[in-house]
Symmetry: D2
Amino acid sequence: MIVLNGGSSSGKSGIARCLQAVLPDPWLAFGVDSLIEAMPASMQGSDGGIEFAPDGGVSVGPMFRKLDAAWMEGVAATARAGAGVIVDDVFLGGAASQQRWQKVLAGLDVLWVGVRCERAVAAGREVARGDRVQGMAALQAEVVHQGVVYDLEVDTTHTEALDCAQRIATHIRSQA
Amino acid sequence: MIVLNGGSSSGKSGIARCLQAVLPDPWLAFGVDSLIEAMPASMQGSDGGIEFAPDGGVSVGPMFRKLDAAWMEGVAATARAGAGVIVDDVFLGGAASQQRWQKVLAGLDVLWVGVRCERAVAAGREVARGDRVQGMAALQAEVVHQGVVYDLEVDTTHTEALDCAQRIATHIRSQA
Amino acid sequence: MIVLNGGSSSGKSGIARCLQAVLPDPWLAFGVDSLIEAMPASMQGSDGGIEFAPDGGVSVGPMFRKLDAAWMEGVAATARAGAGVIVDDVFLGGAASQQRWQKVLAGLDVLWVGVRCERAVAAGREVARGDRVQGMAALQAEVVHQGVVYDLEVDTTHTEALDCAQRIATHIRSQA
Amino acid sequence: MIVLNGGSSSGKSGIARCLQAVLPDPWLAFGVDSLIEAMPASMQGSDGGIEFAPDGGVSVGPMFRKLDAAWMEGVAATARAGAGVIVDDVFLGGAASQQRWQKVLAGLDVLWVGVRCERAVAAGREVARGDRVQGMAALQAEVVHQGVVYDLEVDTTHTEALDCAQRIATHIRSQA
């Protein structure tokens, strides 16, 4: 099980897809985007759901958190059932977010990977994508790593997603 | 937990989204499309993965089945963790597919819903979508229901997705 | 050249894709969605651009109108260059919108098609799609047809997109 | 009018979106992806249409070329009507492709921009995207630039899309 944590537009899903291409067995990739996709459309912008402020701020309420917690249990069960699982997430709560995952993933062999990207570069990639609320990348770039403990950190500022993925794959092989 | 089974282009995901809108609490919706999205790109068209023949035939191999089985455990765990879960699937194996789900969902309160659509109408909607291998809708329209036992069946041939969803929601309320 | 006019979620793009499948030659399909896709992301929600109010209301400003007018000239030139062109639009201004197209398409052989759908049914399909501002379908269902003159009208309330497309194709054949 | 030419996964559309963000007026962005989207689904993989070989090779037939030529006239007319237009294309025919555009764009003020990306890096980004036929990026990386004459060249190998866009915008300002 691999957990990728990084801010919006730091390059997590690109790395996840490259990992799926370079790892020897087929792995499933889930992420916070697929979770939001699975939620009712009405959760976006509603009280208790998830709100994207015009400045890029993201706040989540109790309903979001409830579904999120259940989804995390599902991700853990998928891994326990024997599938390789890559999950990408945005630890809005820093260390507290990691602790929630640690509890859910107890007993599983987890590789914690920090995906860093310099704030200005991530903000530029957000513009190039064109499909995100502008400002999220900058606001999340550092805060999501606060107090989080990693086995490995990669930085997409000057390193391609495929190279980051190869470093992670090498690390996994060396642990096996 | 609600399981929607029907052929390609029978209208399952439209019903799932309407259910998310009409059910009182927020439910998560997963489906075979989100599973394929989570798999490595290389699973499509590969031995052991999933192959879409030009005539609309779909065949899955052992690697697909392994990831599929793990994903089903994850869906079950999400529901056991307390989230309302709607899953849409295509029971390519008919009754055998249902039995696999029944085993995984043991102990959960499940509503089995058959989503039917006349073959010719589903085939026409496949053309209107424009993003599917042509022929799947016709090939799957009846075979996916063979030997499957439902609590409720809806037919999108002449009934809108929202009306189907409301019938399902009424059924759930009457059971509560 | 075929112009399809109808409210949001009335089924215009499904009919366009079916027309592409049933017409003898290959036709290009453009629409208001592809225009918005071609605009800067910042046009959405900005003064002078296009605003989607929470109740489904849509208002466009001078910058939107300027790009829209230039895009219409491009659509006309594509048809004049000899390609079959299907365009789907939402005549927010009713007859005035049609007059703008008539001016731009002067000299071209145009089939004007009204795509109707009962307000409540279109609103339900908007829920089933899950990717549109709720309320647009109901607000636009009738107003976009006010004062507009058609060669042919289809109604997707009880008729499938493919059947509507076949009626349009038959009409074209009978005119040829 | 800005024409961006580069191989698949060289970063053209990211640059186009950044240009839309940094240029003072609103510009429309069209590209070969939007053209393919506008074509009938049946054009993909058909004789006379466009074929993507498993090794990443792309070949186009007479029907594709006919629609392509008409679409180019439409792009030119949009620019002539007064809108700023950014078009991204893949000059599979090198200098011959440029000549076709030059003919269509006659009389317009055009900035020709080459978007380069080292073959291996583009191939890696193709893996990270996960939605393209693998191999296109490598096959197209150099051949699309053969004999093409540019006003400006950018290289996304080590330069971010936003920085490339800013260089292009500065060039435009200096010409004005």
